[in-house]
Amino acid sequence: MTTEEFYTAIGGDYSDAKSRLINDAFMVKFIGKFINDKNYEELKKCLESGDFDTAFSYAHTLKGVSLNLAFKKLSEACVALTDALREPARKTLTNEKASELLEAVTEEYNVVTENIKTLCG
């Protein structure tokens, strides 16, 4: 799998990645690291326990990382969740809406991690 094929498969922005992420080796190295990033797991735990405050932090960081790696679809899902978790929007956020938004993130997150396994072997 090439990096271009990877980005196509996950709904990423390959041209953005290419313009910013120096070269293929750099790209692969940091994409590979994403597997070990704990933000998604922590985010999920917080939302399940209803801790929106801490959840915001993780969602925000996950958004930043996926933006940096040009994981377009994942970052868009993260933006939606982060915006909902940010004050003052958080005040009107229901648990149902939160799980719905998390579900969208999870879907993209799984696509990304599956493909990383293929890319990095």
Binding site: D37, N39, H60, T61, G64, L67, N68, A70
Partner: protein, 549 residues
């Protein structure tokens, strides 16, 4: 080596991927230090302060976030010396504004674009470094006041832009070199810092350290009693000073004119202050218009002095000294005279102190020394037996490293006996310093006699007589003028000199009565108008011939 040459950047970012990405982007050009949150960031910033050129700060972090980091940094001006660029995950302008108001220099947004990040970092570091180097030129490294150049810049700019009246003041530490030798560099530096701090407490003043011993201050003119205020300042200054006995001379110039160069104002103030130099009862001098004439005169003299030396406008006159016992000529003092083609006869009382101040005296002293050697050689050639000639030396002459050579060379060149040459040194506050004593000792070792001029005047110390290698002391002219009243003092000086194996000379002798008193006291030689005024060489040689016939 490489890490020394690269500038240091501290990345404060909690997310591993983001941080490592930044590190990878930066490590080609910078030496990177990492921190995972604000607390660790502050610690690393403190530890590596002198190695860091920039902080790259994430806003969203556990434990201590970016805002809190900036708040903490603000409390410590040292930490503020390292600029911060904030990395924001979002493009919310409110967050950016907030970080800028907390002292961040710039921000970059995610996703990271290496080229943009590198360019912003470079721009901020360059800006910061150019400001710091400007500050370094602006401020005196010891005391933090403006430097001479910065003061000049700010004052001349300021004066140009306003019609307000200003007063300029000059503070001058007397005998600074002497203080530095006596108390050492550390205490002297403390004194400078202490004076600067006291100056900064003056309301509405801008000030600079002009020379090591000189400060200038500018203040908007107020109708107050400057003399009283300065007196009060001086009293307070001496209360907690790191060095107890120092003296500052204050010059005050009210309503300085805006239409003349600042350098001229400096000069006028320097002259104002120099007029109370060594006057122990006066430490504050007010500028008045007479100073302008003096300044002009000094300029005139300084402009033509070098040409005068080259043109031979300076000539040597000789004032005979006579043996008190036999009445026969026993020596002469060489005195310099300046006859300028345009200004005519210039008084040594005017130009000698000026030359001593501007350093020209050294060239003139050696010129006189050489002339005297030539004259002696000439007299010998014409079979006129010479007498020892005393030549004045300024203490500045001894600073020249080759001074010994400069003294001995003309003697050797003319092949004359060293016994014909005496060097007259003046007693002053710093004549005691070891450097000078050593130099004088070396000269005396060659066979040149050393005379101590003006003994008993000003800052005489009996200790001087033991410390400096001497042959003769010259009793200060003021004692001879008041001989009747100060008879006992003169008698004691002569007895003391003799007890120490030194000869004595009295100058300013004008009457028979003075001669008989001095003779009765055992004074060895007498010099003054009673015998002769100073004579040009052609007359002095006749005097010699007649005396020795």
């Amino acid at each position: 080596m490489e890490t020394l040459q690269k500038r240091g950047i501290l990345i404060v970012e909690d997310n591993d991927i983001n941080r490592e990405m930044l590190k990878e982007i930066l490590s080609d050009s910078y030496h990177v230090t990492e921190a995972c949150d604000g607390i660790e960031g502050l610690t690393k910033l403190r530890e590596n302060l002198d190695r860091l050129s920039l902080v790259l700060l994430d806003m969203h972090m556990p434990r201590m976030n970016g805002y809190e980091f900036l708040e903490e940094r603000k409390k410590d001006s040292l930490l503020c010396s390292v600029p911060v660029i904030v990395t924001t995950g979002s493009n919310i302008t409110e967050a950016e504004e907030k970080s800028l108001s907390l002292g961040a220099s710039d921000f970059v947004t995610k996703p990271y674009n290496p080229r943009i990040i590198l360019r912003r970092i470079e721009a901020i570091i360059r800006l910061k470094e150019s400001i710091s180097s400007l500050e370094a030129i602006e401020r005196d490294s010891v005391c933090g006041l403006y430097t001479k150049d910065a003061f000049y810049f700010h004052v001349s700019n300021g004066l140009r832009q306003t019609d307000k009246s200003f007063d300029m003041m000059m503070f001058y530490i007397e005998d600074y070199q002497h203080i530095a030798v006596r108390y050492g560099q550390n205490l002297t530096t403390d004194l400078i810092k202490y004076i600067a701090e006291s100056i900064m407490k003056y309301d509405g003043v801008i000030a600079c350290r002009y020379d090591q011993d000189k400060f200038f201050l500018l203040r908007e003119h107020t109708e107050c009693n400057h003399k009283e205020l300065t007196k009060e300042f001086d009293i307070n200054l001496h209360k907690n000073s790191p060095i107890p006995d120092f003296s500052i001379k204050y010059g005050i110039y009210n309503n300085i004119p805006h239409d003349i160069p600042l350098a001229e104002i400096y000069d006028r103030l320097s002259i104002t202050v120099s007029e109370i130099k060594r006057q122990y009862d006066k430490n504050i001098a007010l500028f008045d218009n007479e100073v302008i004439a003096t300044t002009k005169r000094i300029r005139q003299i300084e402009e033509c002095m070098e040409q005068a030396l080259a043109d031979g406008q300076f000539s040597v006159y000789y004032q005979p000294k006579h043996d008190a016992e036999t009445g026969k000529i026993s020596g002469a003092e060489a005195l310099v005279r300046w006859i300028h083609p345009e200004y005519g006869f210039l008084s040594p009382g005017e130009f000698i102190p000026l030359f001593e101040q501007n350093g020209f005296i050294t060239g003139l002293d050696f010129y006189v020394w050489e002339k005297v050697c030539n004259h002696i050689k000439m007299w010998l050639k014409e079979n006129i037996p010479p007498v020892p000639i005393s030549v004045n030396a300024s203490r500045r002459d001894f600073i020249a490293t080759d001074n010994l050579k400069k003294l001995t060379l003309p003697i050797e060149k003319n092949n004359i006996d060293k016994k014909y040459l005496h060097l007259e040194i003046t007693e002053s506050g710093d004549v005691n310093d070891n450097f000078l004593i050593e130099k004088i000792g070396k000269i005396r070792d060659t066979g040149i006699n050393i005379e101590l001029d003006d003994f008993g005047a000003g800052q005489s110390s009996l200790g001087t007589l033991c410390d400096i290698p001497l042959d003769v002391i010259k009793i200060d002219i003021s004692f001879i003028r008041n001989l009747e009243k100060q008879k006992e003092i003169v008698r004691t000086i002569i007895a003391l000199a003799h007890a120490l194996g030194l000869k004595t000379v009295a100058e300013g002798v004008e009457t028979e009565e003075q001669i008989s008193i001095l003779k009765s006291m055992g004074c060895d030689s007498l010099q003054g108008y009673y015998y002769s005024k100073p004579l040009p060489e052609y007359q002095f040689r006749e005097y010699l011939k007649k005396e020795l016939a």
